[in-house]
Amino acid sequence: MADSIMAVTSTQTAETHHEDPALKHQFDTPEQQYGASMFGMWLFLSTEIMMFGGLFLGYIVYRALYPQAWHEATLHQDWIIGGINTLVLITSSFTVALSIYGAQTNRKKLTVWCLLLTILLAFVFLVNKYIEYSAHYHEGLLPGKWFNTVEYSRQTELFMLFYFVMTGLHGIHVLVGILILSYIAYKAWKNTFHSEYYTPLEVSGLYWHFVDIVWIFLFPLLYLMGGVSFGGGH
């Protein structure tokens, strides 16, 4: 009884493999393969939550210990550049979502152009980050031997340490995202994706949206906590 069922299943699998070149041999159906990819990606994103979570926890603890210093240190941030970068990342999330829509509706040009636009926006984000980092360096806000201990308190240095580690780790994620999306854009250009198969595109999109979500929290925590004024970004 069991043997006959096994035999039937294996013939089905062999047939399916002939039909669908995107289906890897260890999976029975495209649905199963898709489910495994999505489950694996979400597990990875959970570990990412915990990695950034450790930094967010450190931020919360020291904000509770030094509320005044945290308040003042936020005033050294340029909220205009931070705000522009927020809009840039949100826009890039939108374009990634549209690129998946393009694959689902077999619009290759839409997919490729949206991915290229996303990569461009990611570079804009990193350029803005570079402008910010160099400004901090020249103002003596880079922790360590570069830090201006005469003008700023040690607690401000601690805040800046969190700032650089959190935005730095996030920036590395943006950099990795550029590499992943470039590869995906190349695959899309080579007609790899269509309405029946676009899992790598969707999984990469999940990664990019996660990077966006991290920034959605970093922006208010690192730029807005001290309040902002329209008299100037500084």
Binding site: Q12, D28, T29, P30, E31, Q32, Y34, G35, M38, F39, W42, L43, L45, S46, I49, M50, G53, G54, F56, L57, I60, V61, Y62, A64, L65, Y66, W79, G83, T86, L87, I90, T91, S93, F94, V96, A97, L98, Y101, Q104, R154, Q155, L158, S195, E196, E202, G205, L206, H209, D212, I213, I216, F217, F219, P220, L224, M225, G227, V228, S229, F230
Partner: protein, 141 residues
């Protein structure tokens, strides 16, 4: 769903849809656009609220807006709204574990006996007065 199967194949398909969600669920570009505009709007709101001094309420509002923005991205851009039970469990588990980490750590910090002066924070970052107290007790013996 364009993939056709025989009776046993369909049974597998339905089962897996319940776990990870629908394969090839197409979300319209109008939905994406609406979510995008909402995210832009909330970003402007969060900056505008920061210009008003509301004390600790500023933090609460800023974090609430950030959570709403996160939910919009999760549910619509990341398709959690249309995903199955197993994927939702993984998503929720990630945030629950983070919440456990924060709550346990902060309950320690909030209930810790810092120093005799009763100030909420030590003067030197990274050096807790509790450690200094233990050292002085040891030297007395």
């Amino acid at each position: 769903m364009t993939v056709s199967h025989d009776a046993s194949g369909e049974a597998v398909l339905e089962h897996e849809e319940n776990i990870v969600g629908h394969l090839h669920h197409v979300v319209s570009w109008q939905t994406y656009l609406a979510v995008y505009i909402a995210l832009l709007f909330l970003t402007v709101i969060t900056v505008l609220v920061a210009t008003v001094h509301l004390g600790e309420f500023n933090t609460i509002v800023a974090m609430s807006i950030a959570v709403v923005k996160m939910l919009l991205v999760l549910l619509f851009f990341m398709h959690v709204r249309w995903s199955g039970s197993v994927l939702r469990m993984v998503v929720v588990a990630g945030f629950i574990w983070f919440a456990i980490m924060v709550v346990l750590t902060m309950s320690d910090y909030a209930s810790r006996h810092w120093d005799q002066g009763g100030s909420a924070a030590p003067n030197v970052p990274g050096v807790a007065p509790v450690v200094q107290q233990v050292n002085s007790e040891q030297s007395n013996h």
